[in-house]
Symmetry: D2
Subunit: 311 residues, 4 copies
């Protein structure tokens, strides 16, 4: 993730400038602005801009003329009520913009969330950086034997070493050939004057899916929280979860009351079907309910046992 | 549109506060923040918050680390290029939030633009204000005889007076009965302790469509410009066009380069079909083309003549 | 809601025609096509077209070449799994189109769901029908004293009679004046040749919010189920809930497996926060938890007691 | 693109079945249903389902009870009017669903259109096919020296041969190693019982971007036409343009009137700025306008000359 000296200078300059504004300012987020938070081996997340704060949620929920109540406690109560009852539109009134560097195979998963604005670095127009994601040894998981889209134990010893070697070699060789076919270097300067280069829009197809790309990504708070609830979840793939976790820290600094309500009512929340609630009621009434008489499938029964801590 | 003394105090307080921020600041827009711009007889538009500026458009088009070029001229050229070639995603990277007071029948037209975030004042929850739109006498247009959804001459004399009287009387009577059915006053205080009031969610149905409502409305720059290109256009209904015109002023202060490119390439632009372009080419080659030999329908021919200033 | 003889003939003709297609056909929905299901006093819902069925959900979840499994039971299991775990994209692969007649104040609530396609009857272009929603006497609810946006007891006797009279008189008078100002009758024929008529786009503002409008409304199955989960819920306003209930019947005929999964996992489902689950676990372990030691606010405690049937 | 015998049997079975429906049927599209149209070396597009036809556009524009006018000519005129004046909502009332096989680097460009529903084949869950896009020799373009995101001449001789060899070798080697790391074959059967396999969600990162993926993609007619106007355009990358061209044929069979209006008013259309129109008017009045006195930049002047056929 090391930025170049030029990039670091640009970041430092932006972070150091201060201009007065009449807009709401999120004091705890300001020092984080523009600073890359490292993620994976070469990736990062950094906040570029934001609009609104917790008071803006309250203000738009009330369609009021000023900035919410004087009593911070009333604001907290309202925000918790809105979150608990899924009144989502007031949370849409805050917006945040990130600059993110991430491996292409993760970018492909990420982009499925269609409610954000995106500008991605163009490999039709520019040369891609020589950076690939290679998992840390303790993240080199085997296929789960239980869950078709999950991970099992970590690969060990020779097997792990071999996989890492293959990943590294293939990504490097493909990138070298990409540069060779382009006939230009990473800064876009021509290499061999005697021959043409393959069009950038074609040469890029030789890169492997762990090559890093980057984009500007802008989203409102409601849709961001939805994204984070899915991607910071234990079922999400590790490589996207670490981005979601880094972003959670920025949300906490930006809108602490909304973050707290989200943590309480969404992150740890469980949705119980009518049948599941019926069984809980029978259990609370003292009945010893077992799966065969529960009316639930084995799979659902297992999910219920997990939820009530009996798994 | 007169705000109450309390509301004016809240606006003044918000406008007077200044806090330093590391975010981009649009200097010319800051003094306009929170200030209601009057529209129609009781309506207004006011900017509540914004994110980004012209440099943010450039920055995201380039997916760059800093704030665009040092050379302002290059930024202008790029923004004009993006606008001309309808590269819309960089303009999605700026966002603005308005508080708007407008008649319900205009709100119904407005809400058809689905790409914005909206929080409307709730008539299920609160009592509506006693404010109705009554057109100024010179805006009291007759139905156009040419265009089924257009306006013709202005109504005059007795006929105009009669219409104004009907609009005023009906709106007032319906509002009085609304309050009566609610059995509470405009501040929500109970009136007659002896009887119940009709539920607010029902009583509201007695109001006329010129009653004013209000909402917070947030949108990105690309979609705002699309909205404005339709609603500031001469074919838009006058009562929504005046809102669009007020908003154009805020856009001009916020992102002057994007505004200029929009004015040049979108507001006065004409889309010519392949057939129309073929006729223009024949005319430029000196041919005297007439409708019957043009291949265009009479209606399209009229549209072409207008576009080339021969109507 | 009575359609004219012409409209009924058009509906009958469309319903009677049969053409062979290679597309999936939802046998139980076909006989319902085009038939208006009456809602409220003059409204209706009718299915105009649909795309896909339960097998299409399975097919797109598997990105398969044919129409899902031979074993209907496997399809059911997969659909239930997708619904339970909120894998929503396969449900987006089915689409339905309705023609709906509804009061304007309900249309305003409805249109807040932005994920549908809509074409509304244009009052700028055409004359509105003389039809207003007047609640049935047993639906004439007083304002709730507990809940600012809820209903309480039903108004009785003279008070009820008076409200109904006001609603009826005001809507009728406003509509009469609308026609008068337009100077044309309900079919758009001119009335008094001596005078102009007010532009339709202006005259409409004199109508009351219980006037009926109509639209074509098209939405995918996932977003429809989200809409229905909110609007068929006991907390939704009665006047929109009856539309949602009518639509649930069409969903049941169209995609019975998806409907069943929705009924089981969404309609009766409860979302429990981490804190609430913690209390349930303590209760199941035999502890006698009370609100003061629960860590929940009184409001949340009440919500929990309701969920576990102790309210 | 050869489907397996099983897949071909499934396609044939679906295509051969016929069931009566009361819905609108697009007669010319029915025989195309389910049939893969080959694109590139291993890709295809096939129509899986559709909703509505030209008459449905008319019907929703009019919010009518029946299926549009009896006079086909009036329908044509209305559809052309709607297209010319960009009244887009009636075109949103038709929907189509495709199954598409395409290289990942093209899928990444394609997915930027956010208004469609998508289900992609999951490489977290399943093993990817051994299929890569290798350009035909006459499509092996050099980088344009004029346009940073365009193509120039075709590579020749040894240079071309070398590029093709690199593309083929790298894709094949990466895929072989992918299978090796997975420790399962293309059908998901285990290979070496002695060792674990890397999790599918990780192994996929070793694939090159020309590997084929596939998805179900569903979109309304308005947004499809917007997609096609961008992607069937001469400026679009060849590898996505061929998909757009194949889809245009399906649109022509599905909604011939809408297709014709689209071809006339959108595909060959030119948007002229107010300044450009001013120059055209001066030229039509006989003035010999040159770039220096035109007020246009050199680039815009060149664009204008192209539009009026003087380039």
């Amino acid at each position: 993730m090391p930025l170049t000296a030029d990039q670091m200078a640009e970041v430092a300059e932006a972070a150091a400038s201060r201009t007065p504004t009449a807009r709401p300012v999120a004091a705890a987020l300001e020092p984080m602005l523009f600073q890359p938070i490292p993620v994976l081996d070469h990736g990062f997340v950094r906040v570029i801009d934001y609009m609104g704060d917790d008071a803006a949620v309250v203000q738009s929920a009330r369609v009021s003329y000023g900035r919410g109540t004087k009593a911070a406690n009333e604001d907290r109560g309202l925000i918790r009520y809105l979150m608990r009852h899924r009144h989502s539109t007031p949370f849409e009134m805050c917006e945040i913009k990130y600059h993110i560097k991430l491996p292409i195979f993760i970018a492909r998963q990420w982009i499925r969330h269609r409610t954000a604005n995106v500008n991605e670095y163009s490999a039709r127009y520019s040369v891609m950086d020589r950076e690939f994601y290679i998992p840390a040894p303790d993240k080199l998981a085997a296929q789960s034997s239980m869950n078709r889209q999950g991970r099992g134990d970590t690969l060990q010893g020779e097997e792990a070493a071999r996989v890492l070697q293959l990943l590294r070699d293939d990504a490097t060789r493909c990138y070298d050939h990409y540069i060779d076919m382009l006939n230009e270097d990473e800064q876009g300067a021509p290499l061999d004057a005697e021959r043409s280069g393959l069009a950038r829009e074609l040469a890029r197809m030789n890169l492997t899916l762990n090559t890093y790309t980057q984009w500007y990504w802008k989203i409102d708070l409601h849709n961001l929280l939805h994204f984070l609830s899915l991607r910071a979840d234990a079922h999400a793939q590790y490589e996207i979860r670490v981005y979601a976790q880094a972003m959670l820290e920025t949300v906490k600094a930006w809108v602490p009351l909304s973050y707290e309500a989200f943590a309480d009512y969404r992150m740890g929340a469980v949705t119980m079907s009518a049948q599941m609630m019926g069984i809980v009621k029978r259990m609370l009434a003292g009945e010893d309910v077992q799966q065969p008489t529960s009316g639930l499938s084995k799979r659902e029964w297992r999910e219920l046992m997990e939820a009530i801590g009996r798994a």
